[in-house]
Symmetry: C2
Subunit: 338 residues, 2 copies
DNA sequence: AATGATCGCTCAAACGATTGCTTGAACAAA
DNA sequence: TTTGTTCAAGCAATCGTTTGAGCGATCATT
């Protein structure tokens, strides 16, 4: 026997009809709308709603309330674990609050404005997390002409507020770790073009080195990729005063550095110590990389919390997540060769 | 000077008013609705639409047309690269067709029915990709009571059609690779509980071994995790007729096996050869794992294509992606010890 | 000149909810 | 009995589209 009305597809009207009241009454009861309803009417409505397994039609509700219950996130590439984890954290928080997340991959920065418009103007998302470098003029124009609550994550921008971590502290921690292991000549492999996060990590790193009275840090930068790390380490190893301990901007760069060391016959950690960042997964490198863990999921979640507040009308504000960077000791750091 | 009407928020009514026609005319012009309109009227409408940067309000349109232009995907965990890549492929294809993807992470299988209902009954997605094991009775009931075009990806199910690859061919390829390297005693580490994909890979693997007249393959299974692979390899190494070459169900299992070999003092590949699967990222294991590449992104994309066809009314059908499995030679396979 | 066809557009009803404004009845106070 | 309140619920507009039906005006046909 087929159910008369397919469960889950019932509308307010259906419920109203069988209970014998107006749809507005049903709506008010089901939404706890401040209205007085006789207990028996209320109960009848609730019973009928659960009998037919009523689910509000999100489209209709959203059209009326002018809110979609959807948040967007703009990111370069979901297969990059850094972004996957950020999204992961954002989605957990979004789900708690009843939001869904619309993900837009923006492989090419030049299309980010178009992606923005699609999410904001057409899909009418309630808020947006931006995890791409967004400072193109089209993007700025898009945001200004079609403002929507938005927050940057793990990067700063002149056109909005950010959720970040204390990158400088990460840099300091990396330097301390290497210095404590006994290293006296340190190197830093950063991002080129220099990202805000890279600059802050570098500052923290250099600060500690100088405070410890160490000779100048060798600073090298390359594209944020394995290739970039690979090439950068080669150049580092060509330095006259070759460092014995290096801090790589992130995991990709660190992995590339490891590969370069291998082809040069430089043993890690015997000849060279390496500290990297973002490396939850770096445990499977050879050797496993000692890494500073960035709370990416927390950043994603916090970004959603910020968006919710902004949607409620609170002023945007910068957030620095106050989780001290955590170092995971693995096998890529040892005392320097003597 | 502020723009009079915030660009991008203009409605059909706005355009209709300034051009001096009815909204229905505007709608028909902008949608190429089969209607005859004077060229100058048409042009005026188009001009005005682009002047105010008109974007259709997706909610309103969808409410009316009863289609949301959204597809869903149910998966266990986005931070698992296997799923991230599948989603990646699906999103690329979805974007081409103007769909957005709603991702639902279902950490606990028991909540998958609830996630289904939220996407299908409330958000009213047009189609769903299922990448979780979905055979719980609640899930079956949810699908039956609220049917929506759906397709499983990389797994088979009694309650729908699938997009898969030729897993048996992967198993055959793994066996051939080890046999060609000179191995005569082979092992297989599968999934427990046995997944459909695991079974097929095992069949292909065993088939080739038997055809080559090799002694019985040692078959071991464990949970699909690094721990599972770790424990399984330990048990394999305890066998009287210890294999010299093993095929691990997937990358996680392979990585666990590598770890077990290391603690046992079994050198890879000198003492033991390992072939794994899904291992785009396995290049950074120690040693880098020789792996069979699964076209996950293609599977995701193809799933979307299937959904589109089903939404158009075509009958669901099983799809086996006909890309022959590809082996990437790295450093975990060598001739057996003598 | 009457008829019919075509053109170019308008009308109005949806889609499924939300929400401010009425309203009829019951009841209390005067 | 009249008046004023409160209760319980209904009415109707609205969100921004889409879409079939309708309808004057023009033009061709007989």
């Amino acid at each position: 026997m087929k159910p008369i009305s397919p469960p889950g597809r019932a509308t307010l009207k259906d419920i109203a009809r069988t209970v014998g009241v107006d749809v507005s009454t049903v709506s008010k009861v089901l939404n706890d709308g401040g209205i007085s309803v006789r207990p028996q009417t209320r109960q009848a409505i609730i019973d009928e709603a659960s009998r037919v397994n009523y689910r509000p039609h999100a489209l209709a509700r959203n059209l009326r309330t002018q809110r979609t219950g959807a948040l967007g996130i703009l990111l370069p590439d979901l297969t990059n674990p850094i972004y996957a984890e950020t999204v992961h954290g954002a989605m957990r928080q979004a789900e708690r609050s009843g939001y869904v997340m619309l993900i837009a991959e923006v492989a090419d920065e030049r299309t980010s404005a178009a992606a923005y418009m699609r999410l904001v103007s057409e899909r009418r998302i309630d808020g947006l997390i931006i995890a791409v470098s967004a400072e193109t003029s089209e993007m700025i124009a898009a945001i200004e002409n079609n403002p929507v609550p938005h927050v940057f994550v793990n990067r700063r921008s002149s056109i909005g507020r950010s959720v970040t971590v204390d990158d400088q502290a990460s840099g300091r921690l990396a330097a301390q770790t290497l210095i404590e292991a006994g290293h006296r000549r340190l190197g830093f492999i950063g991002a080129l073009p220099e990202l805000d996060t890279s600059r802050r990590r570098r500052h923290g790193f250099v600060e500690v080195c100088q405070a410890a009275g160490l000779p100048a840090v060798v600073e090298i930068a390359g594209p944020v990729s394995r290739r970039g790390g690979y090439d950068a380490l080669h150049r580092l190893l060509d330095e006259a005063q070759r460092p014995t301990g290096v801090f790589a901007f992130n995991m990709l760069v660190g992995i590339g550095a490891l590969a370069a060391a291998r082809v040069r016959g430089v043993r890690v950690p015997d000849d060279l110590s390496v500290v990297t960042l973002d490396g939850e997964d770096a445990i499977f490198t050879a050797p496993p990389l000692t890494a500073i863990i960035t709370p990416l999921a927390e950043m994603g979640a916090r970004a959603v919390v910020e968006l919710e507040a902004m949607i409620q009308g609170r002023e945007p504000q910068d957030v620095v997540i106050n989780i001290p960077p955590k170092l995971v000791y693995r096998e890529s750091v040892a005392p320097p060769p003597r």
